[in-house]
Symmetry: D2
Subunit: 477 residues, 4 copies
Amino acid sequence: MDGQSYELCMKILPKTYVQQADDAKSAARKSINLLLEQKRIPEVGFSDVLIRCLLSDLADMDSSNFPANCGAGEREGRIFSGLVADRHFRMSHGVGRSGELTAVQPKAAGSSIIAKLADSLALHALKIAGAIHVATCFVVPSCTGMTLCLTFLALRKARPSARYIIWPRVDQKSCFKSMLTAGYIPVVIENIMVEDELCTHVSEIACQIEKLGAENILCVHSTTSCFAPRAPDNLPAIARLCKSFGIPHVVNNAYGTQSSKCMHLVEEAARVGRVDAFVQSLDKNYMVPVGGCLFASYDPEFAQAVSCMYPGRASAAPSLDLLVTLLSMGVTRYKQLLKERKETFNYLKYQLEVLAAQFQERVLRTPSNHISLALTLSTLDEDKCTMLGSMLFLRGVSGARVVPRAAKQVLEDHAFLGFGSHTNTPSVPYLTVAAAIGMTNDEVNVFVSRFEKAFAKLRTPSTAPADRDVDTTAVGD
Amino acid sequence: MDGQSYELCMKILPKTYVQQADDAKSAARKSINLLLEQKRIPEVGFSDVLIRCLLSDLADMDSSNFPANCGAGEREGRIFSGLVADRHFRMSHGVGRSGELTAVQPKAAGSSIIAKLADSLALHALKIAGAIHVATCFVVPSCTGMTLCLTFLALRKARPSARYIIWPRVDQKSCFKSMLTAGYIPVVIENIMVEDELCTHVSEIACQIEKLGAENILCVHSTTSCFAPRAPDNLPAIARLCKSFGIPHVVNNAYGTQSSKCMHLVEEAARVGRVDAFVQSLDKNYMVPVGGCLFASYDPEFAQAVSCMYPGRASAAPSLDLLVTLLSMGVTRYKQLLKERKETFNYLKYQLEVLAAQFQERVLRTPSNHISLALTLSTLDEDKCTMLGSMLFLRGVSGARVVPRAAKQVLEDHAFLGFGSHTNTPSVPYLTVAAAIGMTNDEVNVFVSRFEKAFAKLRTPSTAPADRDVDTTAVGD
Amino acid sequence: MDGQSYELCMKILPKTYVQQADDAKSAARKSINLLLEQKRIPEVGFSDVLIRCLLSDLADMDSSNFPANCGAGEREGRIFSGLVADRHFRMSHGVGRSGELTAVQPKAAGSSIIAKLADSLALHALKIAGAIHVATCFVVPSCTGMTLCLTFLALRKARPSARYIIWPRVDQKSCFKSMLTAGYIPVVIENIMVEDELCTHVSEIACQIEKLGAENILCVHSTTSCFAPRAPDNLPAIARLCKSFGIPHVVNNAYGTQSSKCMHLVEEAARVGRVDAFVQSLDKNYMVPVGGCLFASYDPEFAQAVSCMYPGRASAAPSLDLLVTLLSMGVTRYKQLLKERKETFNYLKYQLEVLAAQFQERVLRTPSNHISLALTLSTLDEDKCTMLGSMLFLRGVSGARVVPRAAKQVLEDHAFLGFGSHTNTPSVPYLTVAAAIGMTNDEVNVFVSRFEKAFAKLRTPSTAPADRDVDTTAVGD
Amino acid sequence: MDGQSYELCMKILPKTYVQQADDAKSAARKSINLLLEQKRIPEVGFSDVLIRCLLSDLADMDSSNFPANCGAGEREGRIFSGLVADRHFRMSHGVGRSGELTAVQPKAAGSSIIAKLADSLALHALKIAGAIHVATCFVVPSCTGMTLCLTFLALRKARPSARYIIWPRVDQKSCFKSMLTAGYIPVVIENIMVEDELCTHVSEIACQIEKLGAENILCVHSTTSCFAPRAPDNLPAIARLCKSFGIPHVVNNAYGTQSSKCMHLVEEAARVGRVDAFVQSLDKNYMVPVGGCLFASYDPEFAQAVSCMYPGRASAAPSLDLLVTLLSMGVTRYKQLLKERKETFNYLKYQLEVLAAQFQERVLRTPSNHISLALTLSTLDEDKCTMLGSMLFLRGVSGARVVPRAAKQVLEDHAFLGFGSHTNTPSVPYLTVAAAIGMTNDEVNVFVSRFEKAFAKLRTPSTAPADRDVDTTAVGD
């Protein structure tokens, strides 16, 4: 309905009622126009009705939805199933054009606006989270590892002789694979243990750079968010090294935007040294389904180069999910979620310490890690550690990981001792737990209560392993 | 409702009515179980109600939907927005595990079944389409170009010294980019013109292989579906060459599964020579939104290797869309769609010939291309050719592409003369049109009528170019 | 999105794309405005997307959806369940005000427009169906019987001494009850048999009027649509009588708008005599769920009086369903449905005659009834007749009714012999079948095939009545 | 998916995952079966997903949804529009049969179960609300006034000579109309003022009964919920009178189930005297859209008689809305809503007293009315009173009613002085406000703030009546 429609309504109803309705509607219209103008997350989240309305109007802008459209090409956005059309809000053309993710797609003006808005609101979100100087970002409809891989591939052109990527060890398969898939040789930098915490071995990085030769190194690939007892990498120190050696620096910030600590490391690194890009998972940070990643950079030109690496037109699903979510959240709720996560982390830490005291175990001291915690399982033998993992899984605790001391894993040609513990020499088996965005204190309580029962049961000598056996110790999935 | 529910209903209603309802329901139950057992496309498509029901039951199998689930990790499938949750049928965990696309995801049994079914039904679809000996396939939640890129990267390990990819020219940016992104040097094989048709220069391929050395060549990258007047590549000849030289052969079958001709080329090539993989776009062949690709192979081991290249967990969206679509379609409707496309192609060809006669133009003779056709624009000068493209676009004709004679394009360091025409020496400007799956004769009629008016207008000497100017000549988007 | 939104989009995208989208959208805008202006069924049906969009805009006009609304009364349209809100498109205030069904509801401008449009489009539909001189109509959110009852109650005031309603017998419980519920004594006029057909005994009506005294008679209550072998009442003759005696005439046109024959009877009766009102079921004529009735009249004043009889605010559901349906149908499809029904009736008649010949039965000759047909079951004994009904029901044939010869039914104090057959002296048991709007020839074929099998089985002497027993002979449900 | 489906899933996935999913699902299955067995509101509300799932399974039980159904009657539940089908969860057959609202509909087993469950859960809700001895209840798909009307019509048979209904005055049009529509003469009993409160004039009722003769009186029609300063009727006293005179007693409990006070009056009246029926609005008490009423009785036989008055098959919409809402609410949330309403009422009262003190007005002392409150407007002249109503309406305050002193209204032949104030001699103009179920303290604050501004503006001498004029003083809509 447009202005004329309201006029016509006045012939059906008393004018006053129509005017009142028109007034009421103007708030919605203003919200939409403010969004299109500022391209920022609204202070207060949009209602689902308003979001639906916006998406429907945008979908109408895609040529495949023009009433008079006639598709004479090989890719005309036809959708067979009504269920599928509905779930994509009738948008079928994806995002990007000719292999440039951020380009406007001529057949799909509405989808293009959605992609632009998603990127723009994501930039706003990064700034709220702490990356206040970030220059640009865009959604990549691939996992974080794939996005890291594309980033490496984009660096290749400028560094044709490079064969190595320097990588402070973090025991997560995808990020390791991202380097192999891109065709590079990871140079694993073992962490150093500072009290309980596994920290970046900065001098060893410098050492390796000198040994291998800067021009043979594609980049340093560092990590912020990780499982305790590993600490986020010392990004500023790495960034300074990269700057002085002229080596690119790519940061895996997988689930780091939910922690002001991680974001501060990124910002500080960019201030004092070199950060070419930092990438983060959409689902882990923004509570959307798995499927997308946010590539961010302080260098628009390099970002553009990465955007051009994607050889084709891409799924619009992650952009759409992110846009809907940020619109629905609003700045207020997003900030609140960040604050709540911090509080839940503290609550979790406190509760783990209570558990530790009760069972003669210890919460590892990892002051740099503000997302994940590790509780020792030193009073259980190796079998029982594994069994604990299964028991928790079968009792509906997902995400808590048992890390036994003896794990060894071969990834392609690289053998990792103590895989899962981020070190060749883990001193004790432990359980990691994380307080991720959206977790509540209630969930912490449920976790604690289930852990308590399972642990107590395992410590009772006669316990028969009645539980079904499940492989849940694997990390990095 | 389960068996007990129906029993309980009999205390509320006369038994007969409940029994009758239970009988009626058993058909639906049988359809579901047959699907789970055979993992094939049903003969007759499922209703949307049944599909919804199945998806809801499967979603309930994901741990993030367990009523008692407690997420203590960094990736727990939490979804903030109800709109987003709904559109993903409450499934958030994506597909794959630890960087293996086809692995089962422990947290997401339901999503994993969806992924398995999608792959299995896709295999069935490929066989229906003509690839009766294909061994395996899986959905890649990336564009066709990205999937080609992953395929090239997967070949790297076995061919460490390879630097080149042999590529019979096809003027589409994404597939060219797929090689650059993977870090290889495309060796462009110019096509040879046979009458109007641009055909594979097989002997030149052999020549280049010998010149560069087989061990330095990663693979031959051939193409089936393409715009007229280019013909599908001579796959059997290429496959024979690849076999004899021991070089992998990767086929870009972008929108080829809709044409029995393309599928026959793939099958024949696999029979007489070597085909390592053939990849196809989901949206172009199966009428789903842009976002996914189907990787297929005659070699399960190589397929597994490619599946392991994806460094992380991936979007479930393309698998879900494909599954829903194939369930909704059923074998009957899919076969009918294939048949109708063939008929529409013939109808389009006939209508273009009528137009050609009317305007003293010519439909280029391209007997090998069964999807796309080219109509000469020899009576228009270059400006008017471009204008024709704009006019058609503004009149709601999408996908028809004007290919002027003079286009030149530089992609990275490669300069292409006559870009869009697949040859350095195009003889005449022309318009390409395609009859893709889902197109109807009615759309052909609309196209013809709009073309007729636009063309007539351009041929009138005094026509002022009143139309807005649009850049629509670009191909390969 | 409004005009300004499109301007803002031009800062995000090339202007041309936005203009093209805006152009494409204008068709939708025009359709909506034409609807609001003319309040007629659109020639071509609206898409579901457009209907949703309209409903959403109208819902925004209800005060309960104003963002700043503050409800301080006892009825504020709050909806607890999101599922419920969604299914009513967020409209909760119902229709009407202070007990006038057609009044505008101040709190609910949007709902009021929906009600007005529904009534207006329904009037259009009645005219298309043949009642070209009908003056007014409105949706009553009650069944046909209740609407007849309200109509009788509305007549009371002007005829305070009336105690009787003259009613040519039609064996359907609801219409009989409508008179009892209103507190009147039905004067049953037995039908006369003309060959196979049961026709209005016009002279007996005249006779009864004179006997009881016109002032003691509330109205004559006649019927158009009915089960064969009853014929539609002779409306013109009744109308003439009513006119000459000054007695109101209320027509039960339950499912008559789907038959031009019934509509012609109503029109002709209004032309030559008196018709105060004719009422029709929404579900039976317009393919919507059960729940509403369309009251129509040639006398706007009397219609207004009936509208004022409903003592409260009413459900908007039937108006909404009707509006959505007529918008979705469009004039073209509605006319086509009417035409198809006629053809299906003829096809059904032909098929029944084939069946009759095969089984030595007869299709009763009922030339006046253009909706329903009766097939004799003279070769079955009474038990088998009943069993045939059960067998058809259990084989998924609904709506076919077996009318055995011996049925007797007491409704309140009135005993009906041969209930179901519209006569005290039915000559033969039979089965009635109807060709209602929306029925297809395919369904006729299915019916015939199932009937054939069941009948053949019953005629085989040894048939054990293995089927579950069901009471399905009751008519008038 | 059934048991066999899970078995089949075990061939696709590791058994453990499937078992875990099956375990998780059993909670849902148990909830459904408990509901079907006990037919009571669940303690904790069902999720929307579970409700949808249940409704879909029930819809599958309706014959119109049987895959092999063949409709050969005049009413086969065909639905033209997918939008309409969806919003009714594919159920089209309504409720009831042959004019009995509570009868099972053979063609619609699922719809019938929904109706039965809705009635049964409603009974549970009434008991929670305080009517612990109520015997039976059912949903009537009509407004409260229409249901009162049907109740009166059902009483007619046993009281053939009755012409009057005794009615303690309450200025609400619908309930007055309900008597006129049923054809009875209301005998209006003026209220007596006790301090500020208008109370039942019990002795005048006795007086009128004796004067008119008990046998000439159909029933006493009393009211619980009403606008202050009217008090709920003295139900116990009326019930005693009715019992001793042998006169039926019908209670209009329009929005009384949300107040334990009203429910207590009904229960107490039934204990000490006669209550034949009490009726309540669904939308006002259960937060569903307008359209239904709940008829309740301590006498199952009379309830059955009323159920049989409805002459036809009825809309299932109100039953469905109520069922979904009560399932979604659960006992816990329902009790909480009742408690919150009580608290909001107290908060509203307190805030009105603050306002009153501020503006030299008074909150009328109405200790018996626990839902509605009245604030005097004695410092405004009549014009400004009216203007206040308009101003509040235009500022988005709905439901607050200005009652000027001078209103007079003629309803049919009955002239009411001081209409809206429930008395011929209102002493002061006032504003009524109610705290209905679902209202929040925040809304109270918004109301107070808007009232404050509007009132202050009106008290400023120079105020030009710039506001649009709206008729919002009418009560009883």
